[in-house]
Each structure stands twice: as C-alpha cells, then as structure tokens.
Amino acid sequence: MKRIALLGMPNTGKSTFFNRFTGANARVGNWPGITVDLMSAKLPLGDQMAEIVDLPGIYDLPGDSEDERVVEHFLNTTPVDLVLVILNSSQIERQLSLLLQVQQLGIPCIALLNMSDEAKKFGVRIDEPSLSEQLGIPVFSLSAKYGEGFELVKQKIADTLSYINKAGLPSSDKKVSLKNIDNAELEKRMHGIVEKSIQIPTRLSDNITQSLDKLFLHTWLGLPLFFLVMYFVFQAVFFLGDPLQGGVEQLLGLVRVHALEPLLAATPALVQGFLLDGVYDGVGTVATFVPIILLFFFFMSIVEDSGYLSRAAFLMDALMSKVGLDGRSFVMLLMGFGCNVPALMGTRVMRSRGLRLLSMLVIPFSLCTARLQVFVFFIAALFSPSHAPLALLSLYFFSFFTAFITALLFKGKYRTVEPFIIEVPPYRLPTLQQIIIRSWHEVRHFLQRATTFIIIGVVLVWVLTNFPSSAAPASVDTWAGIMGSWLSPIFDPIGVDQKLTIALLFGFVAKEIVIGALAVIYALEEEGLGSLIAQQMDWVQAYSFMLFTLVYTPCLSTIATIRSESRSNTFTAISLIWPLFFAWFLSFAFYQGARALGY
C-alpha cells in the first residue's frame, strides 16, 4: 500500500480537500510518538490501495511550533510515497516557501493550487504550465470546496502513484535533514518563480470582505455584534439540542422498560442493577451528548468556516491576552455555558498546546445547563422569589470569576509560546457537505474516545451507592455513605452533610442526575423533595452546596473529554484536583463568612 501525506499552511482548505477526497471514512489514526490527532483514510486509487494522512497545517518545515514538530516527526518516522502540497492560490506568492522546503526533502510531490475560485475572483493569475516547469513537479488548480477540477486531480494522483510503483521509487525512509535548508537561496528562487509565472494585482478586490469587516470589526459596534452572534449560535445549539436530548433519553427509557427489563427479569437483582443502572445508564450518558455535539459543531463550523471566528479573536484579544488566553478561548468559554463537552472539543482550533490546555482548564467553570437545573431547583426551594434571580446571577458571576482566576493562576504553567499572528481570511460561505462531515467526525471521535471511560465511571458510582448489598441503595449505609462520613471533617465546615455528600458523588457522573439522586437518598418522590430540603437546610448551606456544585468537576463526560483531548493523565488529574480544591475553598469562605456574620 502506498502512503500519501497531505501538507499545507493553515487556512488553505486542506481539510476540505481531505474530506472531499476521503468522504466519511476517515478516522483518527494512532501514530507512534504523535500527540495530536491525525486523520487518515484508506481508499482505492487507480489500481492500488492508498492511505492518505492529513498532517496539521504548518508555516515552516523545520519547526518550533508543536504542529511543525509533529510534521517533522511524522516524516522522520513514517515512510511516505507522495506528498500533496496544498496552497491557497490567492496567497501563492508567499506559500511557495513551504512547497520549496518540501521539495528539498526529495520525496515526490504534487502541488495543488486550491481555492482557484477565489483567486480568479480576486484577479490572481497563475501560469500553471510555466509554474510546473520551474518547479519540476505537476501542478493542478482546483476548488476543493466546490469540486471544480477535483476529479482530474484525483486521476493525476492515481497516475503518479502507479508511475512511482512502476519506476520502483522507494518510499522516503531517510531522516529528514531540514537544518540544511538554505533559506536565502529559497527566497531567491521563490522570487524568481513568482516573477515568471504569477500575476498578482497590487490590491485584492474583495469589497464584500472589506465592507463586512467595517461592520463586524467596528470600534464600537464590533463587540455588541459579537455577543449578538454568540447569543444566536448558543440559542440555536441548546434550544434545538434540548428536545433532541430529551428524545434520546425517552427512547433509552422505552428500550429499558420494554426490552431490557423483561429480558433481564429472571436474573438476580444485582446483575440487573449492574447491567441497567451501571452499564446501560453509562451508555445512555454517552448517547445524550450526541445531539449536542452534532449541533454544536454544525453551528461552530459555520462560525469558523465563514471566517468569523478569527474576527471574534480580534475583538476579544485585548481582554483575554491579560489572562493568557485569546479571543477563541472566550468563544469556547461562552459555548461552555451550554455544555462543556463540545466546548472542550472546540479548543482544537487553537494550535498552541499551552493556550489550548489553559483554555481546557477554564472551560469547565462555565455554568452549563445541567448545573443550571440543580441551581434552579435549590433556589426555588430556599430563596424567596425576589431573591432568587440575584442568587442565580451571583452564581453566573462566580462562574466567570473562577474561570478568570484559574487562568491567571495557571497562565505561567500553560504558556502560549506561539506568537499571536492569525490570518484574517476573506468571508466565505460554508458548504453544507463540509459542515455535516465535520460534525459527524466529531461525534464519532467523542464516541470512540470517551465511551469506555464514561461507562466505567458510571458503573463505579453504581457500585459505591449499591454496596454492601444489605444497605438500601444510596443510603448512608452504602459505601458512598461510609465515604461521606469519612469525608465529614472536610464537608462539615462548608455546611454539606453526609446525604448531600452522596449527592455530590452522583454529581460527579452528571449534574442532571443530582436531583433524582437526592430523591433516592431521601427516599422521596421528586415533588416532595423541595419542601423537605427547605426543612433540612437553610439558604447558607444551600448556597454553599451550589457553589461547590458549580466549581467542582462538572461531570464524568467532561473529564473523559479532557483526557481524550489533552492525551495527558497529568493534565487530567490537575483539571480534576484544582477545581475540587478551589470549590472547597470558596464554599468554606462563603459558609464560614456568612455564619460569622450571623446568617
């Protein structure tokens, strides 16, 4: 089998090309020693099978950025038969540098001039035959987005592969010696090629982008418009997502009642509990995230592909750079108020690892809709209607506050080493096909990476709350209850009693189940729960419990996502332990402070 590597600078439509080339069968592959996700796909090309690998977008071959090191490492350790270098046609005059660097490696390559539709519109003219002659490699124009020229390119790639096969060219297995690249020489060559084969107007005529930017990046209107856009995206994702999630839950419930329970009726109660309340509920937890992830990436792809995300980075940078983040982190932080899981996955647009980890550390502080359910319940039970909005608002304040404090504290540890130089692409119309493929890839990615982890976690909590088998489920006599009493020296000073500690343990799985779990713990129906809780605790205790619930681990799925996205157990541990500590500290300060003031 032949291996093809796809290489190019960021924003060249590389992924669009890859998606068109491979359709829906691309997967995240495992490559030794590589810490970022590389998509690859195997497909028949001409008379043989080929594997195509989508390498991260890079500016330079001998690199200092993480992505550049990944590419270098990949080329050093993996034999490659053909490199496809993809360039943005309208920026060819500077992007040729990467192509010339790749040529120095001595691996056969083909240059693909993508976005030919835009180049034509902007008045950039490229003499392909002349360019091909000067470079000594095949050169093809195409629009990966609209498919123009694509079939020809595919054919030519197949032809080149069979030629390589017949000529018996070995795949590259020599060490990539990039240090020898003479950049001054490269510059000179590049200049000569541009002079001879490319005509560029002194100014690109993209009036639409200029007018839109005058509005969207306006000194005073820019930020309000940004929040308006975010508001609509947020509403679209979570208000469409809510009924869909409900539907999935209902469906799972129906399967449970009508199929699984009758099927398992003859088995012992423990086996039934393990399979239904453990494994099946774990599967259910995973499944309820699918609609949200789909919708999130559907709308985020529009924001990203249209070019608006980099504008958002421009608008929010002044504020965010002070805490070591950038505008894109802020967008994900906002989306985290719907659901942390897709927001964490969305940080992949940030290519600096330090920046990405710092963003992933702060996103879980966003008060997501699952936590909101818990807060609304407690606030309704313990606060008067006039105080209720204030209580909820203060929790939103704490959500931002904890995120910013965490960013400030950790910005030294997760430093952004990459210079902040981001391309501002022209505004573009996203295509439905690209958006759907992207959303599908993200869902599959989540399912592949997080399912096992989540199921194990749910089973574990089931075990803790159902054993020893002599104890009533979720009662203080279970292992969870026993743990609660061990932990009482820690939780008493923040006003959280043993029963609430068990609820916090359930909350570790998912905040959606906290109220249901409390009903089980108090052996009550949910309707009576509110008034019972109002009798059992005062508002200071309740608020302390809510603060803790806000700040500590949002849910198992968040942890699973942090683990799969960071690929680091150390980082996962930090993002688990720091919020626990922070939550306790805040609740302690609040609870003891309020009590000292006589409340």
Partner: protein, 77 residues
Amino acid sequence: MTKQLSILRAGESGIIASLNTHEDYLLRRLMAVGFRVGKQIELIRSAIAKGPLHVRVGTTEVMLRREEAQSIEVTLC
C-alpha cells in the same frame, strides 16, 4: 521616514523596511505569513483597548499583537 508598525495609524500604508527581531521563531513566522522586506503593508484598523492590529500585507490579511508588530519597521508612503 520609517516607523514601527505598532505606532502606525489606521489607514496608513507603506513598504516594509526591516524585520528587527532576534527571535528566529518569530522572524520565520512573520516571513511565512508574508512579512518580507520590500512588501506593501497597510494598517487597516486596530482593536480598542490596545488590542491587536489588523494588517494587510501583500495579498494576505493578518492580525497580530502590538508586541509582535514592534519588530516591523515600515517606510511610509
């Protein structure tokens, strides 16, 4: 007259006179996105509160922070 890109006003344009940085990494990144001596450059706008700059260089539009822009000298025209 040359000026640092970071102190240009919105709408001013010129030719890049020099890239002054000792950081090899920054220099290579600047060159890769199109900042090269002799290139036409225009400051389109800057964000409020000392935010980043929006710049057109050659056929590419980029944003960069003021610290990075300090290393770029521009001959006004």
